[in-house]
């Protein structure tokens, strides 16, 4: 689990703990919206308690817990949004047409990145796009069920995988 990908910037344990703490504290502030001393103090206590439980749960011991959030990620989200919109319209057409032209397929697709986080991002992006559904992730091979042949072909072109792999290559 240690050396996953030579290109991936490996976040040290302490740094990822601190990042999570900052994230929790900011989340408390924006959820609460009260800036009184007592509530700020309670927020600090809560964040520390959460962090303590998370450390006890050993979330930081392997490299499963790291968030590659950057500018590239935001760009990827916008691209994904466009894809979701496009395929939603496709599925809508299928659902509303009287003959229901579905031709389900199954395929196995190998994820380009070795990192488990990227594989999960890939699999969940596939599920998030209507018309394709990831059923299983096993050692980087994702079993995908698609509603139509067309949807599968889009996925096979590998654009999504390329974009996800590129996120970590910077």
């Amino acid at each position: 689990m240690r050396t996953l990908d030579p290109h991936s910037p490996q976040i040290p344990r302490l740094a990822s703990i601190l990042i999570l703490f900052a994230l929790l504290a900011v989340t408390w502030l924006v959820w609460s919206g009260f800036f009184k001393a007592l509530l700020l103090f309670l927020g600090l206590v809560s964040s520390v308690l959460c962090l303590w439980l998370t450390i006890r749960m050993r979330f930081f011991d392997d490299y499963l817990f790291c968030l590659p959030v950057g500018l590239g990620f935001v760009g990827y989200l916008f691209w994904l949004l466009r894809e979701v919109l496009k395929s939603s319209l496709d599925v809508t057409k299928i659902v509303l047409s009287p003959s229901l032209p579905v031709s389900p397929r199954i395929a196995r697709i190998r994820a380009g990145s070795e990192h488990p986080y990227d594989q999960v991002l890939f699999a969940n992006s596939i599920t998030l796009t209507p018309g394709t559904l990831s059923m299983d992730v096993d050692k980087g091979v994702i079993t995908v069920h698609s509603l139509t042949e067309e949807g599968m072909r889009d996925l096979m072109s590998g654009e999504m995988d390329r974009r996800i792999t590129a996120l970590r290559r910077k």
Partner: protein
């Protein structure tokens, strides 16, 4: 400016409602479990994006819209995870999808 934002947000809300409805109809019309899950994923992905996007535009730059954004993020995180868990559970009990044709692309990457 106000009216433009209003119009855009109403547009988002109504189209979100439309997609949600389509997903519901699809979940009824589709022939088997896995195809139904595709229809349901319309309501799980584009529906929340549009509806909550419309609400965020209505709320403007306030803490409320940050909370809405948090709801959206968690919905988009957990929705596909739940779908995947359901598909895994169905596969585990030997519920095989009916297929038109099998394709394989092991070596595509």
């Amino acid at each position: 400016m106000e009216t433009v934002i209003d119009i855009v947000s109403w547009l988002l809300l109504t189209s979100g409602g439309f997609f949600v409805l389509v997903g519901g109809v699809g979940a009824l019309r589709m022939p088997n479990l896995y195809t139904r899950m595709h229809a349901a994923s319309v309501t799980d992905s584009i529906g929340p994006i549009l509806v909550i996007g419309g609400l965020i535009l209505q709320a403007g730059m306030t803490l409320v819209s940050i909370k809405l954004a948090a709801i959206l993020v968690f919905l988009l995180l957990t929705g596909p995870t739940a779908s995947n868990a359901l598909a895994s559970a169905a596969m585990l009990s030997g519920h095989r999808p009916g297929l038109a044709q099998k394709m394989s692309a092991e070596d595509e990457s």
